[in-house]
Symmetry: C2
Subunit: 504 residues, 2 copies
């Protein structure tokens, strides 16, 4: 029973049903919820709110909210509210298929911003007032402080800024997670900001709980439900090849003295390829690795367990059901090796640069000159969002982008003449890896980048066409710094839209 | 006589002619020179080197170098070496017409990177060894330490890393500049980095001189020559309107409580429009302003003199001849109000974010969704480079981009359906200003951005065509998150290339 997780008498008095809590949220509100990559999001109030919105709509009443979170959530949150047509604005990241459909249909406004910018932009007043915060915790302590569950995200900011607060106490979450978090309360608005006193990825600079003004709490709701623990796919051959290319490269950098033997703190995006890289690292011979990243997924737990990884800093989890069981079962082991921070800190440019993180992120496509599209299919349809990839790409020691060279059964090339949307500019991208090989763009002018991207990363099915484009652009383009033929540069995407294939 | 500026006996013994110094630079070397925005660059050795290269070429010998600087220099450096066809690689920024011509002809490799990345990427080993540093100073002190002249740029890094060092002592530069610099020696490579202890734009965290290992100095050269002090154009009406829109907006933000009454530290790009903004600020009623910027130009000296600006931090100057006279004449006044730093510090993401800078930069074009092109004409021809604009745009409190809505006598629209190159992504751009008005993109999803960009910033000559594109893209595009018609999105640029005008 969740009652046992509420050690503060006043908070116990505030326990209500999810429906009663959802009734406190009014149409037009800006609602800030917990949740990062499917971990630590509220499980019950959003569903009850969606039902309330559906009822209102059936009665002909308008009811939409602006929804802010840490990052992506789950069907019970984004999915339910999107299906109910209850969202006017969504920020800053999401991965839900129903929400995506509505965004791409022009029915839902979506603002896709750097995860390190979210908290400060809200503090700056760029998003107006936060009416309600809905935050999942694993327990409430006697003094009323809150023990976060499996993500911290923007919860500190939401609790600080919201006019009213709804707490979900989820007793499915491990109570022993207490002590794993590090919530930094030293942020401020300019001109009052100070250096963030973190110099190692495992430094503790904050406190283990979240503060909240008790007078703002309007409801406490019991829940008992799992995070969105999606399974990872078995590691396929392309992912293995990508991981091998990247690990070879890292070893090469160590051998040249450009990286320490235990590398620098790793940041890893979420997905099957990053998971393959983590699995590859387990067998790589590297020891004493560290991570300063957003999300811990299965492969990172394995690395901690095997002792290859000394410790990891994150703001949330993305675990398969099996890995979640392992995490809960050995939480005391992991609590000594994992620190969960606010996403303002996990992604902070100051810290990513100071620590010299090695960024490893997926992409949709890259072009000849090293521009990367992480978000848009054929320039217009959002897939997920930029998330924290820009924070690490711009500010880290190295930025690497990983993708198979082909998608859609070979109809799409991940290497294109010109990307159809730019999330990471040529100024920011160091390394591109596909199963074909690795392109090291450091110290190369655009024309030279084109050669290594084509030769090392493009799939043979598209290599001749890329060479042909580049050579003609060199001959006939308007300039030879970044040679392009603008009447052809996006023609591969146009062809895909028309024919279903980038192939001629 | 420059002799009087060399207070160290050993250094006096090393004085040679520029020709003799240039003879110490070998073909194929990576040569790192001082210079930032036409200030503080070496005046004599590059010219002598260019002559040596020309002589070698006449004799059928290969002779090219890789050239690294702080930022742009002058005809005596970039111009001379480009004309001599003496450059194989140029990094990280330049504005010289001869060099630009060769870059765009595909004859010279140019790497255009964030100015905050340069020093660390060289320290990381991404550019190999630095064979020779050529650094202008205003004097050499008795203990052998160097007093920088009118820019600091990457000089600390060049002196630390170069195998051999050539010093130019320029007695045209004011000797009283001693005390104006603040050279921070607390940087390190990851994993040994520490917080940078700067919390106000005028904090001093370093020393006033540059250190150099005396055993590395191979030559000292006397010079007596001015910086590239180019005059600014008289402020035209468009610039006045742009400045007025921006200043109105800043006042509005103060009135809403989102900015302090004395704003936050200003960063200003170089050029006639930023100069107009600075002139506008002089008459705006603002007081107690501060600047944390790369370059101080005429308008900022005026603001300091009138007491509107309390102090300014920079790494270089861009002054007209008259402003330079004023600067030299009243250098004791300015020395109390200006701090010159290394460009690693002037542009550091950690500091730009901590201080909450207000970035004000020019652009070539912006698109409907807030992507900005700062560098490429028609997607292929480099104009100058990204410089430090990305450092401030990504990390500051606000990023503003300023441009007239038209160029080339009305044949080019600065607002286009899709930019032909992206330097600042939709995730980073807050404010776009033309003489037509100001588009505030904060908190807006892409479709809403399009409306305000068209309505507020586009020139009426192009507004109907932009609306027409946007409406058809909403109807027929592949997705409605960022609606585009890929067969038309770059057609305005194609038309300009073919006909000399973006107009149909």
């Amino acid at each position: 029973m969740s009652e046992a997780r509420i050690h503060n008498a006043r908070m116990r008095d505030l326990v209500v049903s999810a429906e009663a809590a959802a009734a406190l949220i009014q149409p037009g509100e800006t609602v800030a919820m917990s949740g990062f990559t499917g971990s630590g999001y509220p499980k019950a109030v959003p569903v009850a709110l969606a039902q309330r919105i559906e009822t209102a709509h059936s009665a002909g009443q308008e009811f939409k909210i602006n929804l802010l979170t840490g990052a992506s959530t789950a069907p019970e949150l984004d999915g339910a509210l999107a299906k109910a047509e209850g969202l006017a604005l969504r920020m800053p990241f999401q991965t839900d298929p129903d929400a995506r459909k509505r965004i791409n249909a022009g029915e839902l406004d979506y603002i896709d911003i750097h995860l390190s910018h979210v908290a400060q932009h809200v503090w700056f007043g760029f998003y107006g007032d936060i009416d309600t915060a809905v935050v999942e915790v694993s327990s409430i302590l006697e003094d009323g402080s809150l023990v976060p569950s499996t993500s911290v995200g923007n919860n500190k900011t939401w609790l600080d800024l919201a006019k009213k607060v709804i707490i979900e106490v989820n007793d499915w979450q491990p109570e022993d997670v207490l002590g794993m978090h590090d919530v930094y309360y030293g942020t401020a608005l300019p001109p009052h900001r100070k250096p963030i006193p973190l110099v190692n990825a495992n430094d503790r600079i904050g406190q283990t709980t979240l503060k909240v003004d008790p007078s703002k709490i309007v409801a406490v709701v019991h829940t008992h439900g799992p995070d969105r623990n999606s399974p990872f796919k078995a590691i396929d051959n392309d992912s293995k090849l990508i991981a091998a290319h990247l690990i070879d490269f890292l070893k090469h950098e160590v051998s040249k003295g450009r990286l320490p033997a235990n590398l620098l703190p790793l940041q890893s995006g979420v997905g099957n390829i990053p998971n393959a890289v983590l699995a590859g690292l387990a067998e790589s011979g590297f020891r004493g690795l560290t991570a300063f990243t957003e999300v811990i997924q299965d492969g990172m737990l394995d690395l901690l367990k095997s002792g290859v990884l000394d410790y990891a800093s994150c703001t949330g989890f993305a675990l398969s059901p099996e890995a979640n069981e392992e995490f809960k079962h050995n939480i005391k082991f992991y609590r000594e090796r994992i620190i969960m921070r606010t996403q303002e800190i996990s992604n902070h440019p100051e810290l990513v640069r100071r620590l010299g993180c090695i960024g490893m992120n997926g992409m949709i496509e890259a072009d000849l000159y090293g521009n990367v599209n992480s978000t848009h299919v054929m320039g217009s349809r959002i897939m997920n969002g930029i998330g924290g990839s820009g924070d690490f790409t711009r500010n880290g020691f190295l930025s690497t982008f990983l993708s198979p060279s082909l998608a859609k059964g070979g109809d799409i090339s991940a290497i294109v003449p010109m990307v159809s949307h730019v999330d990471h500019t040529e100024h920011d991208v160091s390394i591109i890896v596909t199963e074909q090989g690795l392109a090291d763009l450091r110290g190369l002018a655009p024309r030279k980048r084109a050669r290594v991207v084509i030769d090392n990363c493009a799939h043979p099915d598209f290599r001749d066409a890329l060479n042909d484009y580049f050579e003609r652009a060199m001959r006939d383009g308007y300039g030879r710094h970044t040679p392009h033929l603008l009447d052809e540069s996006l023609s591969w995407h146009q062809r895909y839209i028309k024919t279903g294939s980038m192939k001629p």
